[in-house]
Amino acid sequence: MHELAITQSVLDIAVGQAQRHGARRITAVNLVVGELTGYVPDSIQFYFDLLSRGTPAEAAALNVRRVPTQVRCRQCRAEFRPEEGVLWVCPACGGLGGDLLSGNELLVESIEVE
């Protein structure tokens, strides 16, 4: 359920762009998904296959680039990827917490059309 609304938006953006460029068919949708957003690529794919039927994006490849969560430690300034994506403990100094550098992305980067 969680991914349904997201996938509909992805499809709307892709189809809208394709129409604007007079493209007949979308062959690929390139998506960027940050780890921290909690969106699961397999689930997006599942809904994409369902929702794209009968649209110019039917049978398009859905390429998802995952962006790992990246945090900068407030104590020692080391940059790290939290363990399992969630536990914000600096592996360099053991400090708890930091500032988010990446991982919140959710965007359609490009589409490929014919």
């Binding site: 609304a5 953006i13 939290p82 914000w88 917490g97 930091g98 991982g103 980067e109």
Partner: protein, 214 residues
């Protein structure tokens, strides 16, 4: 021939546009809007009810209640004397900006100072959908455990305030308040943390002051 078209569009841009429109409606009427997020059972509705009661005479409060189904919460709020609109998402796990835009038609906006939006009980996706709110509050509760900030950083990182509800249960469960506060601070340096109990009323005053100033 295949052609690549650069897009670089936020997936939720359509939602975000409508959230901006909602925000301009709120600003036009001078209404402060607070989005309440929590897991099911943390006490969002109880906190909304306590807030209506605690700010009676000081702030004119309206409420938007988000739930999968039923009018239970909106009826409770209306019984407490605040105009309320129920949004049933029909299984959807979060509120989105268009739903809130539709709900505004059911509220006497000119007569409100403060609008509380109770999101669907879920600590994951409501975070990603802007509704046009000015402030975001996460309601956690003692029985859920003190590790929630570490497990849901994506949610805690965006909050303007964090409430820990059900502190009357602290003597009965293994909940380390300091560990919880450290967990919140790990991902969020700025949000004030309010420890309170909607059941006993303990700790409500600082929360009400914050909300009144929101």
């Amino acid at each position: 021939m295949t052609v690549q078209i650069p897009v670089v569009e936020q997936v939720l841009s359509a939602n975000d546009q409508i959230a901006l429109q909602n925000r301009s409606v709120f600003d036009r009427y001078g209404i402060a809007v607070v989005n309440f997020m929590a897991s099911p059972g943390a006490g969002k509705t109880s906190l909304v009810l306590r807030s209506i009661e605690g700010l009676r005479g000081r702030r004119r409060i309206g409420v938007i209640e988000g739930d999968l189904a039923s009018r239970i919460d909106a009826d409770r709020v209306a019984a407490a004397g605040a105009p309320a609109v129920q949004i049933n998402t029909g299984g959807g796990c979060h509120l989105d900006a268009p739903q809130v835009a539709d709900a505004l038609a059911g509220l006497p906006l000119a007569e409100l100072d403060l609008l509380l939006i109770e999101n669907v009980g879920n600590l994951v996706c409501p975070t990603n959908f802007l509704l046009g709110e000015h402030r975001r509050v996460l309601v956690a509760s003692v029985p859920e455990g003190d590790d929630k900030p570490l497990k849901y950083p994506g949610s805690f990182v965006t909050m303007d305030a964090v409430v820990l509800n059900k502190i009357d249960l602290l003597p009965f469960v293994d909940f380390d308040v300091a560990a919880f506060e450290r967990g919140v601070r790990a991902v969020n340096q700025r949000a004030p943390i309010f420890l309170l109990s909607c059941r006993t009323g303990e700790g409500l005053e600082p929360w009400l002051e914050w909300l009144a100033a929101a």
